[in-house]
């Protein structure tokens, strides 16, 4: 059977989603597929269009790639608008020719409505819909000072924010008496206005523009019907959208009175071979100006083309939750209470700027709609009540009261029925999620990958996580890899976010991906991730507040508030002169001195203000910090090796020093220890270390992920007879993989035990490069090695950083009275307080 031809007009969000669905289904085999796009670019994420001004490129926003289209055998013809449709001949016309179709899908979206105002053709008047529009606005803004958005709806406010981000004084001109008239009521609109004005955007309501003329102080002047006027350098119209139904009109398809291509539940138009989906389609007299309903239509149509008799579009929820200019706004269901008999409950705290309104049914049992301004934390719960018709509690007001005033906690995921829709973008119900978990998905990531939930607008992320956690818990799975209450991510996920998005500060990370202000769990974890990624000095101003006290003061705090100091002694090799310096410094400051298990010297009892003085001397003598305080490489222990030992086959000390110099300072999820033995007698106890190296006749054997301490683990033999270079490259890769993927405070031993596929998997990744990431891991490591600095050296040379080491900032001479000393075995030690 020869293939039929399917043509899609419009390469926007919904058209693209439709193709994704179709090619993954059996019907794909029946069609040759052609796609026409009027825009020059491949379909992109219009919902996040504004991010284009924040530096995102088309590639960042793109929904797919040209390669994907080629691989699927889809012919993609961009920059080629369809200008004509002949239904009798079943052809479409473009400037380049005519094309025959058997089935036609119209996914032409909508276009911005520009009110018929005199002067609207002025070159500094724009709309806000496409990347090209944004390019033009950016160009115009460069030489301008102010900008006006006509229209105070959702998109208008987004556009106003964009103008503000371009450095313009932004104004919003709205015809109605309040902002977002569709979604909000008078009180909500007033609060939103107040908040937005606080942010420096001027709002003008009840203004009808009559003409746009040349300005006196700015490029343009807008005249209003009340005889007032406003001068501005550019104007963005955002006065609503109109369905793009030109082809349907000219070919006699049925269209709505106010536009829109009429479709039935199967998304088919009045011509059985023509279908329409997305914002151009009119279903049940309604246009859906959001992406989720468009996606649902796309899925429905794909099923229909696969012969599914049951597939039907049955309408969609238009609830929205957004952050407009940083202000939370939510609108659910019948927000205006138009249902007969509907009653209202309002909570309005002008002090903190929170407004909440619930619209409930006459019998008080069901939630019909809601409005939220200033705080969306109640949104998920309210939406679930509204969507699933869950019976309201006896005192429904508790749902919107602050907890301190008797408010109820959020609706637990257990209370949701199986049919509850969790992700409306991808139409995923709680039942689907349970199904995915029962089919083997063991964490949030795999549920997302399996069901696609939360990969659309992202609005359902928190709810999805709750459901997954609660279901996993029910099945006895230990959950919550969450770092803490501030970040719903594991360390690995955070690492990825930091690296991929180039995030360099804690504040950016928590603003974009967390909540609240952080704590002693997430701050050091993020500090370590930032250090692993970018290797900036840990006392750089942004990083100071992130470090654990030991990292902040680059020494180990002991029980009486004093510190111990451990200079680096690579491989345990030290010259007599340096040893003498250690002795002299210890004597001068009366420091208790002890040899550590890692072949170095630990000096105890230094006060905060003594630390920089002591380090000045140590640095002058050639010492570097030993990072005994950090989650980083501690020591590389070694035996004396072939240089002296009669059994030795390789220079273990030389290799230990080389390794220690290479990895010193690297920040990791936990401390890392290494050791090198000069022969199989293993005097350096390398097999109890994270990385153990044992010399062979032919080179080095590498053992990984061992541990001593509380939970001993014998290291696994990873590779044999490596040359010096091979050894270092192999360790580079394993260390970096560990740094990137381990959880907070997870030693390599536990990391390995939790690694799916275990040792074999690790070997494949590192030795055979099965993931193709080895070059990247090495490069990352080289970058870190290349930017090493001795933190103490940097700190003592910088007066600003030294300021941190004042014990009492207003009393430099003051001695901490609780540090009391006595003498034992000829050395000073703290007096133990009587407990």
């Amino acid at each position: 059977m020869s293939k039929k031809t399917l043509i899609v007009v419009g390469n926007g969000m919904v058209g693209h989603h439709f193709l994704e669905q179709l090619v993954a289904s059996p019907a794909a085999a029946d069609y040759d597929i052609l796609v026409f796009g009027e825009e020059k670019q491949l379909a992109y994420d219009r919902v996040h269009l504004s991010e284009y001004f924040a530096g995102s490129t088309h590639a960042d926003l793109a929904m797919g790639t040209a390669d994907w289209y080629t691989e699927q055998g889809i012919q993609l013809l961009l920059n080629e608008p369809v200008t004509g449709l002949d239904r009798d001949q079943r052809t479409v016309t473009t400037p380049k020719g005519d094309y025959h179709y058997d089935e036609l899908v119209l996914a032409t979206g909508s276009y911005p409505f520009v009110p018929p105002i005199e002067g609207r053709e002025h070159p500094h008047c724009f709309v806000y819909r496409t990347l090209e529009d944004l390019d033009a606005i950016r160009a115009s803004a460069q030489a301008g000072k102010s900008g006006v958005v006509v229209g105070g709806g959702l998109l208008g406010l987004e556009a106003a924010n964009a103008l503000k981000s371009l450095g313009l004084q932004a104004h919003v001109v709205e015809f109605a008496p309040r902002l977002m008239p569709v979604q909000l009521d008078t009180d909500g609109g007033a609060l939103l206005r107040h908040k937005i004005e606080e942010l420096g955007v001027q709002v003008h309501t009840e203004k009808a523009t009559t003409a746009i003329v040349a300005g006196e102080e700015a490029r343009l002047r807008m005249n209003f019907s009340d005889d007032s006027h406003l001068e501005t350098d550019l104007i963005v119209f955002s006065a609503g959208i109109r369905p793009q139904d030109a082809l349907a009109r000219s070919s006699g398809l049925e269209v709505g009175e106010r536009g829109g291509i009429v479709v039935n539940d199967q998304c088919t138009t009045s011509d059985p071979h023509i279908h329409a989906i997305g914002e151009c389609a009119l279903w049940d007299q309604r246009i859906f100006g959001l992406v989720a309903p468009g996606y649902t239509m796309a899925r429905t149509l794909a099923s229909v083309l696969n012969g599914d008799q049951e597939a039907a579009f049955t309408g969609a929820d238009m609830s929205t939750k957004l952050k407009l200019l940083g202000v939370d706004v939510g609108s659910i269901g019948d927000a205006h209470g138009q249902t007969p008999g509907a009653r209202n409950i309002r909570f309005n705290d002008e002090q903190i700027g929170h407004y909440r309104r619930m619209v409930i049914s006459e019998d008080g049992k069901k939630l019909l709609g809601a409005i939220l301004v200033g705080d969306n934390s109640h949104y998920d719960t309210l939406l679930q009540y509204a969507l699933n018709g869950i019976a309201l509690p006896d005192n429904p007001e508790t749902l919107i009261l602050p907890e301190s005033q008797g408010g109820a906690p959020a609706l637990g995921p257990d209370a949701l029925p199986e049919t509850a829709s969790i992700c409306s973008c991808h139409n995923v119900t709680k039942g689907d999620i349970c199904g995915a978990i029962d089919a083997g998905c063991g964490d949030l990531g795999s549920v997302k990958a399996e069901t696609k939930a939360s990969t659309g607008c992202g609005g359902c992320t928190a709810l999805l996580k709750n459901v997954v956690d609660s279901e996993l818990e029910k099945r006895g799975v230990e959950v919550s890899k969450d770092l803490c209450e501030h970040f719903p991510y594991s360390r690995q996920e955070l690492f990825h976010l930091v690296k991929v998005n180039g995030i360099r500060t804690f504040s950016t990370l928590i603003r974009q991906h967390g909540r609240g202000h952080g704590c002693d769990i997430c701050k050091p974890a993020v500090g370590s991730i930032l250090a692993s990624c970018w290797n900036e000095h840990i006392l750089a101003t942004d990083h100071v507040p992130l470090q654990d006290t030991n990292d902040t003061f680059m020494a180990n705090m002991q029980k009486n508030g004093t510190y111990s100091i451990v200079p680096r002694i690579p491989g345990g090799e030290i010259t007599p002169d340096k040893l003498i310096v250690l002795g002299e410094v210890a004597k001068q400051y009366n420091l208790y001195t002890k040899i550590t298990g890692g072949q170095r010297v630990d000096l105890f009892g230094a006060t905060l203000s003594e630390l920089p003085e002591i380090w000045e001397q140590l640095i002058a003598a050639g010492f570097e910090t030993g990072h005994a305080y950090g989650k980083s490489l501690r020591t590389v222990k070694s035996c004396v090796g072939s240089t002296w030992c009669r059994y030795g086959v390789q220079d273990s000390v030389g290799m230990a020093i080389r390794l220690e110099d290479r990895y010193k300072g690297l920040r990791a999820p936990h401390k890392v220890k290494m050791a090198v033995s000069g022969c199989t007698r293993e005097c350096a106890e390398a097999q109890s270390k994270d990385f153990g190296v044992i010399a062979t006749e032919n080179g080095w054997n590498l053992y990984v992920c061992g541990n001593g301490g509380m939970r001993p683990r014998h290291a696994d033999l990873f590779a044999t007879d490596l040359s010096d270079e091979e050894l270092i490259r192999t360790i580079d890769r394993v260390v970096m993989l560990y740094v990137r993927t381990a959880d907070r405070l997870q030693r390599t031993s536990v990391w390995m035990e939790n690694l799916e596929g275990g040792l074999e998997y690790l070997k494949q990744v590192v030795l055979e490069d099965s993931l193709g990431i080895c070059a990247e891991l090495e490069e990352h490591m080289d970058g870190i090695v290349g930017t090493y600095q001795c933190e103490w050296k940097t700190a003592v040379e910088d007066p600003e950083k030294r300021k941190r080491f004042r014990e009492f900032v207003n009393a430099p001479e003051k001695k901490d009275p609780v540090q009391q000393w006595t003498t034992e075995r000829d050395q000073r030690r703290p007096v133990l307080e009587s407990a």
């Binding site: 209450e485 501030h486 609240g516 202000h517 952080g518 704590c519 002693d520 997430c522 701050k523 050091p524 101003t541 100071v544 507040p545 992130l546 470090q547 654990d548 006290t549 030991n550 902040t552 003061f553 705090m557 029980k559 009486n560 508030g561 905060l608 300021k803 941190r804 004042r806 014990e807 009492f808 900032v809 207003n810 009393a811 003051k814 001695k815 901490d816 009275p817 609780v818 009391q820 307080e833």
Partner: protein
């Protein structure tokens, strides 16, 4: 009888470290002053002495928020103290002294009891 107090100037704005603490010596002994710029008010003062270890270290703890309350974590055994009330979050029976704090021009002032014998200061 209510002890007499005064507003003692303890340091300047330049001494503060955002999102972190510093220690000052006052008529009432060692006090930790925290500066959390995202909060209103942004300054907090509590005793610098960690009640669990007796060591003067609280200013060197990590700050943050737990369930919305501003806290510092003791750098020794990691208990959290509410910066407003001094209450220890892990142990109801333990709390640390808090002090009213204000910004006077460029100076940070603490309200401390006037007469506090300094005998313990060795």
């Amino acid at each position: 009888m209510k002890a007499r107090t005064c507003w003692e100037a303890v340091c300047t704005v330049e001494d503060l470290v955002p999102e972190s603490g510093i220690a000052v010596w006052t008529a009432a002994g060692p006090v930790a002053v925290f500066y959390l710029p995202h909060r209103l008010p942004a300054l907090f003062a509590i005793s610098h002495t960690d009640p669990f270890s007796g060591a003067n270290v609280l200013a060197r703890g990590l700050t943050g928020d737990l369930k919305g309350q501003p806290v510092v974590a003791s750098p020794l055994y990691k208990q959290h103290f509410n910066l407003v009330t001094g209450q220890c979050l892990e142990d109801e029976a333990v709390s640390v002294q808090t002090y009213p704090v204000l910004l006077d021009g460029n100076e940070i002032r603490l309200e401390v009891p006037v007469k506090q014998s300094e005998t313990e200061a060795a």
